[in-house]
């Protein structure tokens, strides 16, 4: 990683710590900035102000509150499945963040098929949600779990197809390669801002953000939770520490998907290489390993802002409407996007 040659166990330890930070830090920042503060401002109120200056310690207070609650399990629930479900959902988040690069040398692993791996692993959370819905011995949770199964599987496809356009344009499935392609690329010969794929793949970006909103079960696609009907859907019977895991998983996944979107469409950890005269991955300076994560966090915040902004402003779709939207609108649009990308890639 750096000039120091660390033994394998030390590298693994750093990776584990780094992974935990990479999951919890976006979750915490998104929860405080957007869920507590931005939602409050949009509703003409100030949000939590008591715990810490301007309520910054509220998240720690909430975590502490959930940790000390009683572990309630419904009597008829399938105990082992009930206990495993939040772990499975959180597991997929950690697996997902392992593929995201944060700097020229600051990555957990460098997969050749990074995109393929990320999209495959993100489906594990569907299993977790289904497990939670079925094992809760509650009709409302069952309804929520079944809705989630249909919705999340339906929206996997637009997500994959939207990313295919980026892969065609970049020519590689490696996340690091995609970042380098965007930052060393040029638009019709002008390399002032590199070639962020949001400009050429705006359709793909749009479809990807909608699919991400659905994968996170955020309004307008929050039928599985549907607070006014199902009282938290598949999460109804969870309280205390288990609910905390669902909560962290929801916002951590939002953060990680925003990180992936910023890698795919906004140029990832990089700023256009032409500003500094770099040409390849090795020629990038070492301080980029520290600045890169900061740039990633900024871009992630921007995308998470959009996700949360839409979440607080719209009512929710009915599940047959959202299925119709996915199958009849998003998939054809993303297929057409792939067709155009392929044609233009060959032409130019």
């Amino acid at each position: 990683m750096i000039a120091v040659d660390l033994p394998y166990w030390a590298q693994s330890l750093l990776r584990v710590l780094g992974g935990t930070v990479a999951v919890l830090l976006p979750a915490g920042t998104i929860v405080y900035l957007f869920l507590f503060k931005m939602m409050s401002f949009m509703q003409s109120r100030l949000g939590p102000m008591e715990a810490g200056p301007y309520g910054s310690m509220q998240l720690f207070a909430e975590v502490g509150k959930w940790l000390q609650k009683e572990d309630i399990q419904p009597e008829n629930a399938d105990k082992s499945v009930f206990k495993m479900a939040p772990l499975v959902v959180l597991l997929s988040t950690f697996l997902l963040v392992a593929a995201v690069p944060f700097g020229p040398d600051a990555y957990f692993t460098d997969f050749e098929a990074g995109v393929f791996y990320a999209l495959a692993v993100s489906s594990i959370s569907v299993l977790g949600i289904l497990m939670a819905g079925w094992s809760s011995a509650n009709k409302y949770s069952l309804l929520g779990g079944l809705r989630a199964a249909g919705q999340l599987i339906a929206y996997e496809l637009p997500m994959v197809l939207a990313v295919v356009g980026v892969v065609i344009q970049a020519g590689t499935m490696n996340f690091q390669g995609i970042v380098l392609q965007q930052n060393t690329g040029s638009i019709f010969g002008w390399d002032g801002i590199g070639n962020p794929y949001i400009l050429t793949q705006f359709v793909g970006f749009f479809v990807f953000m909608i699919a991400v909103q659905a994968e996170l079960t955020q309004t307008p696609f929050d039928m599985p939770i549907a607070e006014s009907e199902l009282v938290s859907g598949y999460m109804t019977e969870y309280s205390g520490f288990r609910f905390l895991m669902f909560f962290i998983a929801e916002f951590a996944t939002a953060g990680v998907f925003s990180l992936i979107a910023s890698v795919l469409f906004l140029g990832g950890w990089g700023i256009p290489f032409s500003w500094f005269g770099w040409t390849t991955a090795d020629s990038v300076d070492n301080w980029m390993n520290v600045v890169g994560p900061l740039i990633m966090i900024t871009k992630m915040m921007a995308l998470a802002f959009i996700i949360m902004w839409v979440r607080f402003s719209y009512p929710r779709f009915r599940e047959d409407q959202l299925q119709r939207f996915a199958w009849k609108v998003l998939i054809p649009v993303s297929l057409v996007n792939i067709m155009f990308t392929a044609i233009l890639k060959v032409a130019f």
Partner: protein
Amino acid sequence: MSDVTDLIDRQKLSYIAAQAADARLNVELETEGMTLNIGPQHPATHGTLRIIARLDGEQVIWADPSAGYMHRGYEKLTEVRTYPQVNTLINRIDWLGSFANEVPFILAAEQLMDIEAPARAQWIRAIFFELSRIANVSLFLGDLGVQLGAITPVFMAFRDREYVLNLIESATGGRFHPNFDRIGGLKDDLPKGWIDETKQVMKKLRNFCDEIETLLFGNEIFQSRTRGIGVIPANVAQSYGLSGANLRASGVDWDLRRDQKIALPYDKVDFKVWTHPDGDAFARCWVRLQETREATLIVDQLLDGIPSGPVMAKVPRIIKVPEGEAYVSTENPLGEMGYYVVSQGDLGPFRVRIRTASFNNISIVPWVLRGVFVPDIITILASLYFILGDIDK
């Protein structure tokens, strides 16, 4: 007319088809439909309403409302209270637009006593009546968003409703339960500066209506959730006894403020009665939005024309209402509310029968919820708009 019969036939057919599907399921998979209890504790039922629904997957086969979890025994309570005490109690029937509950009762008692309140009192009564309508229906507009998943409009509703509640408090002393109407007039006159303040507040509420229209009604997702859902044709609505905005949204042009000769000065102001031909959930919500705006315009006109004079007629200190029976019903925020007062010359009424709007409004729930999806149950209940205190008294 034939398309209404078509609609009813289609409803019947879908009901039969749903029953057949249920039976088929039972045979094929040896499973039954699922019986789901919506309520009595549920975020969507505006209180403790219980709806027992039998579902086939996500579709409703039949649904039955089971009210009574909030029954407080008002009609029995009124038998052992005096008239001022009854006035205090009935504030709490429809607790969002409280002043509106007192009006028909006081008018019935005044009819029995053959007393007319002075003109100034009637005008101020009408102003408070419309203010309670605004307070009630502006909450509905926010609550509608929450039922459908939009969590922001409800905060705007509460924020702008505060202005109306502060107005009511500065004149009567109570935000939610004003207890302001008296037999023969009102308790007090308005404090200084109230008229100008009210005009400012009405402007703010019109801004609020515009904001809600942009944020909620203009939203394509909202429209796809509410258009064509829960269609109630006009004759079905009338036969089930719906009233208020529910009736007007099915195309029936019926408003007791205009159609009934009543002591309140509604014949002196110009107002439009909003109807909508569709009869679906969107129509009901839309009609209520327009009614809120119309109410602010009515208040403006009433404020300009308040006559001066006393607010209380000559009434004996101890009120004994002579024998007789009277029924007065008015166009309350939730619908038509009426009081049938039977008096035997005592300090208190002998029997009061309270005809509340929401009780009749939810009688249509079994009819309208057949064959709809579970999310549509919530939409339809939200658009019918009932208050549990009004149903259960």
